[in-house]
Structure formats: C-alpha cells, structure tokens
C-alpha cells in the first residue's frame, strides 16, 4: 500500500493506518453504475477500497453524461462496467475491480452478494431495489440504500444492528413495492445532475464509515435531503411487525415470483359501454388527438390525447370506473394498461373494443359540430 496516496486521510484523527488497512481488505459490491453508482465508485476507489465489484448491464448514452461523470462523450455506446472499471483502475491501480455485465436476477443475486461484505444499491427501479433488499435481508448483508427524485434524495443503511441489536430493511418503510408508473423515475421526472452526485458520494461515505468504524452511520434511519434548500430530515425506522415477509431460506427466496398486479383490463362492447355510462362514479376518457372526428361532447368525455398520455390526463381520477375510448380500440388499450398499473385493483378500468368506428351508433347523441 502506497501511504503517500492516502496521506491526507491517514493523518486524520480517528482514521490512520488501521482504518486504511480495513478499507484495503474490504469487499464492496456497487449495483448500478449510473448516477449514484458513478460518484460512489470514484470515491471508494480513490479512498483505497480494496475489492470493488460493479454490476450493470447498460451502455453509456448521451443523456447519462450530465450526471454520470465517470463517462465521457467518446464512451457513448460502450458498456458502463467496462468503462467504469478502466477509469477506476487508472485512478487507483492498487485496488481490485471486478465487473459483472448483467442484470441482477433472482437466481444469481445470492451467490453474487455472498462474495461481498457491503452492498451499495445504485439502481433506478423498484423491482431491482426490492430484489436487492430482500436478498441482503436474507443474507444479513449491510445494504447502503439511496434513491433520488427531482431535487431530493433518500439515504439509509439497512441490515446493520444498532445498539439495541435491532435491524431494519426497506420493507419496514414500504412493505409493498409501488406499481410501475405509480412513482416517476428520473427519465420521466427529471433529475438535476449534481443531486445523485451528492447522494452517491454520501453512500460512499456511509460505506467508509461502516468499514472503518468512524462516526455514526445512518443505521435504522432514513435521511431525506432536499438540494433546493439543503434541508436534511432524518427519520428513525423501526421494525414493522406483520406487514411483510421476507423468505428466511434461500430455497424460499428462489421460489418467489415477481409480484402480480392483476394487469387485466376489461374490453367492452357497445352495449356494455352504454350500461357503464349510466353508472355512477364513471369517468369516460377520449384518448384521441384533437384533430380526430367525430368530436365528442367535452362535457361528457374527458380529453386526454395519447400523444401526451399520461400527462395529458392532468388530474387524479376519483371515479371508480374508468372507460377509455379511441378511434379503433387500440390506443385505448394502451392507456387502460397504464391506468391499471397506476390504480391496480382499486378501480375498474375498461377499454371500448373496436373503438368509436365500430360502435359509431352509440356516439351519435354525443357528436358535436365543429
């Protein structure tokens, strides 16, 4: 180990050779080499974290570069794990970097996590996050969790015992995964590039604190950070009894299937459409574009053109029944599926099969002159 490289942290009070040695021996798996993963990787590697694993299956794209500053414009199209590993090895040849060009699946995650001591979640979707959470909880692996949205970030440390020997995991906050579309991700909601830079760097700091024993990591706490006003808000997490189960054996973990949300939408014909229209708490949505004929009474049919869907539906639906219509009954299915993902089984969602063209007689009283 080259002590000059780490001189500035070696001379820190409470750090020194012993802490540096702990870093050199530690094994950290960074899942996702994106907005959170990049800054975390850069600081972990620079700090002399001895064994780093990187999991990602994506390639660098132009829209990544405003926040994933490990990559350059010339890297577009290359696999992130390969570019990241090369940069980290150049940055610090003293450490070992392993790459895993894959998307984490249930059948491989346990074996992969077993080879590491600390797991850093830098993924961008709930399916991966719950998979990682459950696997880490089962294997009792310290999980450094972070997520961002807009101008805000969340950071927490799971599966590390506090002084009372209690541990918590993400399901103690959110026992059931949100449905697809319920929570916007960065590609839909946007993110200021510097935000994952801050939060990912904080993840790296938590890893270093856990390994070296300095400071107070966010054990059984979630930190909410707002970049716009630099507000930090810590919430203490306790175990939520009886709200969820995480499989306690590997066999049971492997047997778990993806959550089923009941994505069935109901295709209706003209008669059923007429009957539904008379029912209370029913919302009729026309997803055609503004130039399409016939024009229907806007007092009866809410307009939410598919070209801008779901933003064009700029209201929360309070009605129990939602009927989607379009010209031929194709776009209405897509819109219905989206709403089904969002509202799940809490609402009845219908699509008019064949659309207005097939059932034109059922719309005559609703047509408006242009």
């Amino acid at each position: 180990m080259n002590s000059e490289r780490y001189h500035r942290q070696l001379i820190l009070k409470g750090f020194g050779e012993a802490a540096q040695q702990k870093l050199a021996l530690a094994r950290v798996l960074v899942i996702g080499a994106g907005g959170l993963g990049c800054p975390a990787l850069q600081y972990l590697s620079a700090a002399g974290l001895g064994h780093i694993g990187i999991v990602d299956d994506d390639v660098v794209s132009l829209s990544n570069l405003h926040r994933q500053i490990l990559y350059t414009t010339a890297d577009i199209g290359k696999f992130k794990v390969e570019v990241a590993a090369q940069r980290l090895r150049e940055q610090n040849p003293e450490i070992e970097v392993k790459t895993y060009l894959l998307r984490l699946e249930r059948n491989i995650i346990l074996d992969l996590l077993k080879a590491y001591d600390y797991i850093l979640d830098g993924t961008d979707n709930f399916e991966s996050r719950y998979l990682i959470n459950d696997a880490c909880s089962l294997l009792k692996k310290p999980l450094i969790f972070a997520a961002v949205s807009g101008y805000e970030g969340q950071l927490a440390v799971f599966n590390v015992a506090d002084q009372a020997n209690n541990t918590t995991n993400y399901r103690d906050l959110f026992p059931i995964p949100p449905q697809e579309g319920e929570v916007l991700n960065c590609s839909e909601n946007g993110v200021l590039g510097v935000l994952p830079g801050i939060i990912g760097t904080m993840q790296a700091a938590e890893v270093i604190k856990l390994i070296t024993g300095i400071g107070t990591p966010l054990v059984n706490k979630i930190l909410n950070y707002n970049l716009l006003n630099h507000q930090f808000y810590e919430i203490r997490i306790s175990h939520a009894d009886d709200t969820y189960t995480i499989p306690e054996t590997e066999a049971k973990f492997l047997a778990m299937s993806k959550p089923i949300y009941g994505n069935k939408i109901i295709n209706i014909d003209g008669e059923e459409f007429d009957a539904l229209r008379k029912r209370e708490s029913t919302l009729l949505i026309d997803v055609r574009e503004s130039h399409e004929f016939p024009v229907l009474d806007p007092a009866v049919f809410l307009k939410a053109p598919m070209s801008g869907f779901p933003a064009s539906l700029n209201q929360e639906v309070v009605e129990e029944n939602i009927v989607l219509i379009c010209q031929h009954g194709i776009r209405s299915v897509a819109a219905a599926e989206w709403l089904k993902e969002k509202y799940g089984s809490s609402k009845h969602i219908y699509s008019l099969n064949g659309g207005i063209v097939k059932w034109s007689g059922h719309f005559i009283d609703q047509e408006h002159e242009r």
Binding site: A147, S149, P178, P196, E234, R236
Partner: protein
Amino acid sequence: MEIEIISFGQIAEFLKLRKLELNDVRDTEGLKTFLEKEYPKLKGIKYKLALNKFVVHQNTELSDRCTIAIMPPFSGG
C-alpha cells in the same frame, strides 16, 4: 390542535401546507383520512408517515405541535 407537516418528493408538489389546525382529527389514521380527502392524489401513492421523526406503523395519537412527515418512496438512481 396545531400540527406541523413536512412532505417530500412528488407529495410536496401538491401538499404544500406547513401547518394544519385540526379539530376532529386525533390520530394518524384520522389524519390520513383527512389528507386523502383534501388531496385525493395521495390515495394513488404509497407513502409513510413519521411522527416527530419516528416512523409510524400503527395508529398513533397526535399531540399539539407535533410534526408529521409524509414520505413517498423514490426509485431514481
């Protein structure tokens, strides 16, 4: 009683109030019902309440000048 409200993420975009004067609401379940009626958007979002910086798992009584945080899950990375 008067309570302080802190919200995060997409919830903060439509739930902008900071202080709330409550007359009939006494506990966290009552507060949820009240908020979901005032802000129907909340019904479509998973969220967790924290009372005075402690996560709430079961219906808990509110007290004057307590702080309620309303936190949605984030997925972005």
